[in-house]
Amino acid sequence: MKAEKISFGISYIDTGSVLHKLNGITKFVLFMAWVTVVLTTFDLRLIIALVCLGLLLLNMTKVPIKAYRALLIATASVLSLNALFMFLLAPQQGTEFMGTETVLLPLGFYSITQETLFYLVTITLKYFSMFPIALVFVFTTHPTEFSASLNRLGVPYKIAYAVSLTLRYLPEIKKDYVNIMHAQQARGIELSKKASLFSRLKNLTNILGPLIFTSLDRTEEISNAMILRGFGRHKSRTWYSLKPLATKDWLCLFSILVCVSLAIFKRLFETQLFWYPF
């Protein structure tokens, strides 16, 4: 296995877009609201709108498409696979929900019905619709701003800080991992496809051992450095990166509130769980 040439990772990328200028709290609320709306609905119209809006927002982050294209494709394939398995396990789920049965391809137990197809498309897109917004959140929110927002929304600051430290140290751990891998490869550890799966797994432990020990050493150093600078001395703390909410944030928050209320209202008064036009 040779080191790959990687230009972008899935992490905060400052492109200075409109979305970057929004407050972390707004974006976090947007993300949570998005998830809530998606969970309440089985309406394909709404879901398609969310997917399009999500992709539009993702485009608005100005992050180059090549940074996330592979991930989008991967997610889409995993979800499609998921749909296939759902079909294999419960091929008549759609018919049960819609109450009608329009067989397109009679295959006995695995007969493909229009209802089931519609059901699977809805479910898959429903899951997929959460993905672009998650990427938007990760690309545009500075990890400490995120922690600050979490803390402001009531999460204890030590937990909130742990989140941002994890993000902060991920690149370092990745660097350690690559160094250890190189050192072990040079000593005859085979990680490429030449070795059998079992021996590759066994060889992987030769990397994980040193990685865990290096990381533990690092943890001790960071925690000492933090203690020395007064971390944990008070019950609360303030945040340098916490920005006050601007007018545009309040506007966004208000629209989010309206949308979520409408979604919940729709769900409560809906007569049919699935929107099925046929």
Partner: protein
């Protein structure tokens, strides 16, 4: 009195002997103190007692009294320490907690619940003190070594403390940045009137600016507490394994007697004229032994180019060769491409352009493992290499991978452990070793494979003078007796000067020099490009109007080596 240790002792919970024994030490307000000592002498432990990590984060048994600002520290909470003492840790990378420079500087303020709006002006003015005001939004990881050091300094200064404690501040820095750091510390001492305590074993670098006192520690006790001039004139440094400044070694080699009244603490204050006759006489009588020519090429790099991201070249059209039996150094600042070169030779990355020949054979045809049988690379951090629990197994691992008979493995491993001075530890767990000993284990695990070429990445990092001298003398012997070719990658000028004969200098991914070491060390402009500085040996020669600085250095090294062997 700002700090006072009286009959202070400390024993770590995990150790069976005390690390500090009856320390008595007084430090006045506004003093600048250097604490030196070999690894394990207790110098870092003193620092940890001062900043409160002992007893609040590290367990152990204290006795005696330590007062800071007139108050008994046994009654202190952690925050009392933080209000009085600011600590800059050794490894700057591990102490960054913020994701931007501004945020990292503000960390202490955040923990004191300073309102966000009030933080900005304070952070800004602190950043100005260390010339970082234009970088507040950058990530600390992207900065150069010196800038990182200044960020961590600003993170301490933001919290108006009186005592600044530096724990080996120069360990990870190149020579030029080291000098700059010492200048900044000195400025803080003079302008802001801070009490400064520097824990360091690179004495000559610390003495780039005046200090008031030097505390020399050995085996948990203070063996000297005196003015720099006095200490340098004494023989205490030698007995306790601390490297004395190069100019002093040179003067002593030339038979000069240096007294404390001559102000030997820095080359500038030293009254040189009195030694001129002695030194010139010594140098004029010099005879430089001709080095036997080493003509067989072992390794050839031609037109090597590699880029990690396809945009910027990490190594740009680099060509050079190394002959059999040579001892070569590769110099350059962080990010100049030194480590990438190693990776290319190891084969973990493949060159975009160019090729590498070993004994005329193209390495591209060999797998990483096949290459490792012939080119041994000892990485900087031993923790990255060690994957076994017991020392014997760790060293035997490479041989076992080759599928050699266990009996032969046993013989070879014992032999190499004996060479590395590790034989008595062979059945020890690796965790019980110090960092320097672990480093020796990694060298042993490479040497046992009998490589033709040995590459050492920063071999002196994290080790004191005594242990790295022992290790390198051993490698030097292997070089002389077994003909192993050695390449070291380093920015430790002392090491390069003392052991290598030829230097390859990289700057901004390009090769800018490939010449005998003494020639490279005689070119201040060239050195500056690689963030290196001239050594005090060169400066001594220049002060004494010696034109052939290269020959002067060469003769000095020759006499030093003759003495080492004797």
């Amino acid at each position: 009195m700002q700090i006072e240790f009286s009959d202070f002792s400390f024993q770590y919970k995990s150790l069976d002997k005390p690390t500090l024994k009856n320390i008595n030490l007084k430090i006045e307000k506004g003093e600048k103190i250097v604490i030196i000592g070999a690894s394990g002498s207790g110098k870092s432990t003193i620092g940890r007692c001062l900043n409160g990590l002992i007893p609040h984060a590290i367990n152990g048994q204290c006795s005696g009294l330590l007062t800071v600002a007139g108050k008994d520290t046994s009654l202190f909470e952690m925050q009392h320490y933080t209000e009085l003492v600011g600590t800059v840790l050794q490894d700057t990378d591990s102490q960054f907690v913020g994701l931007t420079v501004g945020e990292d500087i503000a960390f202490a303020l955040e923990n004191q619940c300073t309102p966000t709006a009030e933080m900005y002006p304070v952070v800004k003015s602190t950043a100005q003190m260390v010339e970082l005001e234009s970088m507040l939004d950058r990530s600390p990881q992207e900065l150069s070594g010196g800038q990182k050091q200044r960020v961590s300094l600003a993170g301490i200064l933001v919290d108006d403390v009186d005592i600044l404690l530096f724990d080996e501040p120069l360990a990870a820095l190149d020579p030029k940045t080291s000098k700059k750091t010492i200048e900044i510390i000195d400025q803080l001492h003079r302008d802001a009137g801070k009490t400064i305590i520097i824990i360091e074993h690179r004495l000559e670098d610390v003495l780039h600016r005046d200090v008031d006192r030097i505390i020399l520690m050995a085996e948990g006790e203070i063996v000297a507490d005196m003015a720099p001039d006095e200490l340098l004139a004494s023989s205490l440094l030698k007995t306790h394994g601390i490297r004395e400044p190069l100019y002093l070694s040179a003067l002593k080699s030339a038979g000069c007697v240096v007294k404390s009244s001559d102000k030997p603490a820095s080359l500038n204050s030293l009254f040189l004229e009195q030694y001129e006759k002695n030194v010139l006489g010594w140098f004029n009588a010099s005879h430089i032994d001709a080095q036997p020519a080493k003509k067989t090429t072992l390794l050839t790099l031609s037109g090597l180019t590699y880029s990690y991201n396809g945009e910027v070249n990490a190594v740009d059209d680099v060509s050079f060769s190394v002959n059999k039996g040579e001892f070569v150094s590769i110099l350059g600042k962080n990010g100049s491409g030194k480590s990438t070169l190693t990776k290319l030779i190891m084969g973990v990355v493949e060159p975009d352009v160019g090729n590498i020949l070993l004994n005329g054979q193209d390495l591209a045809k060999l797998s990483i493992f096949e290459r490792s049988q012939r080119v041994g690379v000892v990485m900087q951090n031993p923790n990255h290499m060690i994957s076994h629990h017991m020392i014997f197994d760790e060293v035997a691992f490479g041989l076992r991978n080759r599928g050699i008979d266990e009996k032969i493995i046993h013989e070879k491993v014992i032999h190499v452990l004996t060479l590395c001075g590790l034989k008595k530890y062979r059945n020890w767990p690796i965790d019980a070793l110090s960092y320097g000993q672990k480093k020796r284990v990694t060298i042993a695990s490479i040497l046992v494979l009998e490589p033709e070429l040995l590459i050492l990445d920063e071999p002196t990092a994290g080790q004191d003078y005594r242990s790295y001298t022992a290790m390198l003398n051993f490698i030097k012997e292997l070089n002389a007796n077994l003909g192993i070719t050695v390449v070291i990658i380093s920015h430790d000028m002392h090491l390069v000067l003392e052991y290598t004969t030829r230097s390859i200098v990289l700057s901004d991914s390009k090769l800018i020099a490939d010449a005998p070491m003494t020639e490279v060390f005689s070119q201040p402009d060239l050195l500056a490009k690689a963030n290196l500085t001239t050594t005090s040996l060169y400066e001594l020669a220049v002060s004494l109007d010696i034109n052939n600085t290269s020959a002067f250095m060469q003769y000095f090294i020759q006499t030093e080596q003759a003495r080492n062997i004797a």
